[in-house]
């Protein structure tokens, strides 16, 4: 297998080529490092490149030659978001403040290493995962535009062909937003499905770990590898690892697709709306049953996620706030951390009680449908520095707009994926979001695989 071809092949096929000696992981890693050196000066996806990336590749190549295969990622180069602690690379969680993070590793990174992955480096993120722009990173489809966030560097790394896949984290949309804006696949499984030990917290009850990938099959594979009980994460679900491979070919027959017409279709760009409606029609044409419904209680969601995210984040940063270290945070993040001091305890608990109510409202929904689909975001990538957007006659900040359709699935803790369903007149990717019932990632992957087969995906490499 030629290295250039490998960069466009599913991970399973690349890993098989490495196992059989048809592809050198050293040559593959070298090609990625060369591309990063050549192109990342304009995109700013990485904050750190592993000095031992080639050494990792050489060891894995020698092991493969001797028939010692570590696992399904043997020799596969991956990128890691900068809020995952790593033993051999520095962690900054996107901040320049003088805060030290441990040289340790949690469940997700450990499982990748055990599966044989090569860790290429750490990707840029919005500081402390508290934002959707990831400055100064740029979108590979148009370098005048943002890649999204907070896992912006991971979205770029996948879209620009700097790694076979990358890790992200998602508190209100931070995997799915960069996936949508950079035209990649990005999944946050059910809350607790992938252990979060070794990830710098943002908001304990909302944080999810997950991958950004080129394909749905790669997303399924990485969730299979990283999922499972993590005793070091208080929110971890005591569930066995997933087996999502059969879902990739399950097809649309008998699939029940829900479309929530309130909230998820309000005030969105015309081209995004058209592309999403075409995709829903395509699912119906492939014999999926489409069921429309509404959940009026979603109207209270923004207040709830603000109360929980602000209060939780500020609690995490409280000792830094008291010590004056937050004055070294970026202006926007410092403001959010300080605003969290105004959320009262009763408001926080009201928000957590609201989550119980919202979960109750979605139980009968998922009794009738396998998945709920819609746009990942109301818009495509906006220009760096742009502060507001007008959609459906409503003017609002791009930041408020950007997470409107993603945060409900964090409040609910349900699995949700974003994948491209089309491109707008500027060639910018449009994201399609698919959510499922708790621990039913299989239906999410099944539907995503069907959608993926109907879309000609563009990459920037």
């Amino acid at each position: 297998m030629r290295v250039e071809d490998a960069m466009h092949q599913p991970i399973r096929e690349v890993a098989e080529a490495i196992r059989t000696g048809a592809l050198s992981p050293v040559e593959l890693t070298t090609a990625y490092l060369d591309r990063i050196a050549q192109k990342d000066k304009d995109l700013h996806a990485f904050v750190h490149i592993a000095s031992d990336a080639l050494d990792q590749a050489k060891l894995l190549e020698a092991a493969a030659r001797e028939g010692r295969i570590a696992g399904p990622l043997h020799g596969i180069p991956l990128a890691i978001k900068d809020n995952y602690l790593t033993a051999d690379m520095p962690t900054r969680a996107g901040t320049e403040a003088t805060i030290e993070f441990a040289n340790a590793e949690g469940a997700a990174v450990r499982k990748l290493r055990e599966a044989g992955a090569i860790l290429l480096g750490k990707t840029r993120m919005h500081e402390f995962a508290w934002g959707m722009e990831t400055p100064p990173a740029r979108n590979p489809f148009d370098t005048d535009r943002v890649p999204g966030g907070s896992s912006g560097g991971s979205g770029i790394a996948v879209a620009a062909g700097f790694a076979m896949a990358a890790l992200g984290s998602d508190t209100g949309g931070s995997i799915r937003i960069p996936a949508s804006l950079c035209g990649t696949v990005g999944i946050k499984p059910t809350f607790g499905r992938i252990g979060r030990s070794g990830i710098v917290p943002h908001s304990w009850s909302l944080d999810h770990a997950g991958p950004l990938t080129r394909t749905v099959a790669d997303a399924a594979l990485l969730v299979d590898i990283m999922s499972g009980y993590d005793p070091a994460d208080a929110g971890s679900a005591n569930e066995p690892p997933t087996d999502l491979q059969p879902a990739l070919t399950a097809g649309a027959s008998g699939l029940r697709v829900g479309v929530c017409r309130n909230h998820f279709f309000e005030a969105l760009d015309d081209e995004v709306a058209a592309s999403v409606e075409t995709t829903i029609s395509s699912l119906a044409a492939q014999s999926a049953e489409v069921v429309e419904f509404e959940v009026p209680e979603l109207a209270y969601g923004l207040g709830a996620i603000f109360a929980i995210e602000l209060a939780s984040s500020t609690s995490y940063h409280l000792h830094h706030l008291m010590a004056g270290r937050t004055s070294a945070y970026q202006k926007d993040v410092r403001l959010l951390v300080e605003m969290g001091r105004f959320v009262t305890a009763s408001d926080y608990l009201q928000a957590e009680r609201y989550r119980t109510m919202l979960a109750e409202k979605f139980l009968p929904v998922f009794a009738d449908v396998d998945v709920v689909v819609g746009p990942t975001m109301p818009l495509t990538a906006w220009r760096s520095g742009q502060r507001e957007v007008e959609l459906g006659g409503k003017r609002e900040s791009v930041l408020e707009t950007s997470w409107r359709f993603t945060y409900p699935w964090n409040l609910l803790g349900l699995p949700a994926i974003s994948l491209p369903c089309g491109y707008d007149r500027n060639g910018l990717p449009i994201g399609f979001q698919i959510a499922g019932a708790a621990f039913d990632e299989a239906s999410v992957i099944r539907t995503a695989a069907i959608v993926e087969r109907t879309v000609k995906t563009h990459h920037c490499f």
């Binding site: 207040g303 409280l318 004056g324 004055s327 300080e338 605003m339 989550r355 119980t356």
Partner: protein
């Protein structure tokens, strides 16, 4: 960071925010506060919060 620490006014003891920034932060919070106010009016009956405390089991000897 050191420069900021030296030039900033003392923190408000209740909010821990530098007094010179309090007005700006309060102003920025108003938009969010309106959303939280909506939530306050929602009747949630006897529903418990989604986040609950779980006692830790002792390790087996």
């Amino acid at each position: 960071m050191t420069e900021n620490l030296m030039t900033e006014s003392p923190a408000d003891p209740e909010t821990l925010i530098a007094t010179e920034r309090l007005t700006e932060v309060r102003e920025a919070f108003k938009v969010i506060s309106r959303e939280i106010e909506k939530l306050r009016g929602l009747e949630l009956g006897d529903r418990h919060p989604a986040v609950v405390f779980r006692p830790m089991r002792k390790e087996p000897r």
